[in-house]
Symmetry: C4
Subunit: 204 residues, 4 copies
């Protein structure tokens, strides 16, 4: 029952993401955990602004397989990785935005460090603008399984929280439920837009 | 009666702020003066775009306490400070926008000086673009009571009008009623966006 | 009859301008020619996005007086000047936009010269992107009568077409009817946004 | 029958383009292939956001003539060229956007090369962000027949895919049907906006 309510909330969030222009050209994919074994993942090639509950495919978290035989997104492995790494993760949002695409290329290192922003507190557990908050950046890869292993390896050594950037590609973020994942997305996108403008104005 | 009409207008203004994207990720807080003793302040953690009159909490201006026992915003002390400092203030809007966040960091001094803009006249009492109009910037602080005292001390020495910036955090502005507070917000945000662009183009 | 249809179209155009954010904080003013003697001008201090036909005041083109005794905009003299200078002008739009405000300050000379843009052809009579198209810029002045005389003097020596910029203030543009004035506004705003971005990217 | 469904989809796409602000001031023109002999092209001088099926004119692909005698767009020859060059092309979208206008001027060479963007995969047949993807840029020309011949000559020597830029003018893109043309438009516009921002931030 809870999963159905979460799916309804995810559909509403997809429409909101579509209206924001954060998943253009049918890009991006979104999911919600159904139970310990399964998640529900958006089908490929659909406009996020007009998804319905029928556009979500049940996928096994351990195997990336869809029992129905329907073809889930090519990026399924990134969603299931999050659900395996973080038992508390209840929803995953992967968006393609201009700010996340560009910032992840402009920042050449392996993390974007945010500091000095009150909005950092929109991320669960952050209590002050004084902390340096690193958002990991991974080089993009068309081999999603290889990319997932790279991220998994990173997570064994370094805490991975809220989300990560794929260079030139976009943001993947999550939360305990759809509302929290959405708040992390909205907070991170605000921070990225601030950081873009700050770098433009302070560039020497 | 007047307070109820003002609250209805504040709810409409919150929806407008939500649509503008000026209070993302449940950030920001808004209030209206109820009488000499109380104000009505938005509850924490709600999306400003879908607030209703029931999401506002009565707070004592002198003590920051909510008679109902409900928990008002962590930034209550900044609202009540305005109502104490300025007996004519009837509404306070605290927003989190990209322009106010970034400009308040780019400007390293303790005020953003606006000049040469016709839009300065959208601020009550301003009659010409020729004046230098300073908007105070205070360093951000997670200790809101301490921050409020710092602002209060500043106001005893320097006139504080229309609004102030919290560095890396956002804008707090006010007016004699909701309509005037909203006009100040809209005018200041326009001025901030102009100033951002002007600095980008004129940066040497 | 024709004037009433034009007024209805102007009201719709004001709503469109409001939605674009091109007249924030109750700024800007719009008018339509009623006949050879009168124009109908928007009242001051109203949000352009919610104007109705009742918010327009009849003004004598020769004298700037409102027969009804209602108070027209402080910038009435700029509208009536256009109707006096150009007998074919049927509508005047004065907007406050970020791009027109900033560009008119960044450009220190007395005209913004547009060239190389296909969109120049959105301005009546322009047939090629190859022409250099100057848009006059006048220094802002709170004395509107003095400003109007300055513009009038300029127009006796130099052709004034489509619109002009007031430095740090905004754009005033016109057309033979509301549709043409609106097309000039939309074309000029597009050109201003292009020019802003071009200058940012090509600045050395 | 299929052509009528495609036309309905094109009308919806025009409304979407209008809402995006990608064809301001009645600019741009859109078409769909009706059969091997004809296409249906938007009439000139109409706001794309409120086009109806009656605003499309049947045009002969070989001759650019409209059997009805109605006057098609001045840029008809660019649409029919695409349908002649690419038998699989089913829809052509020509838009006027700030990003395509400015980028095509900032880039002085004869192509804009996109690389490193995941969004390149929104273009049919692109499978990786690692490829260098050139989008041809042609100098603008008011002589559309001459411009069309120049593009045709280019296409005999160099593959022309997805779309091309006219310098200072806009984007023309196409697809096998309206949905694919729209996806190419949305993907290319995203890439242009990223490239604009990347160049701003990485400009030395």
């Amino acid at each position: 029952m809870k999963a159905h309510l979460q799916l309804a909330e995810l559909v509403a969030t997809c429409h909101w993401i579509g209206a924001k222009g954060w998943a253009p050209a049918t890009g991006g994919n979104m999911s919600v955990r159904e139970d310990e074994i399964h998640c529900l993942l958006s089908a490929s090639g659909k406009d996020k602004g007009s998804l319905t509950v029928d556009d979500f495919i049940q996928v096994e978290i351990a195997s990336n397989r869809a029992p129905s035989g329907r073809k889930p997104s090519a990026e399924t492995a990134l969603h299931t990785l999050i659900y395996r790494l973080f038992p508390d993760a209840g929803a995953v949002l992967h968006t393609h935005t201009v700010n996340s695409t560009v910032l992840s290329r402009v920042e050449k290192s392996d993390s974007l460090v945010l500091r000095g922003y009150e909005m950092q507190k929109s991320l669960t557990g952050q209590t002050t603008h004084l902390d340096a908050l690193p958002i990991a950046i991974f080089d993009n890869d068309q081999d999603i399984d290889k990319l997932a292993r790279r991220i998994e390896h990173f997570a064994t050594e370094t805490p991975l929280r809220y989300g990560f950037l794929l260079r030139g590609h976009g943001l993947t973020c999550w939360g305990k439920d759809v509302a929290q994942a959405r708040q992390h997305l909205e907070g991170l996108e605000f921070l990225f837009e601030c950081e873009m403008n700050l770098r433009l104005l302070e560039r020497t």
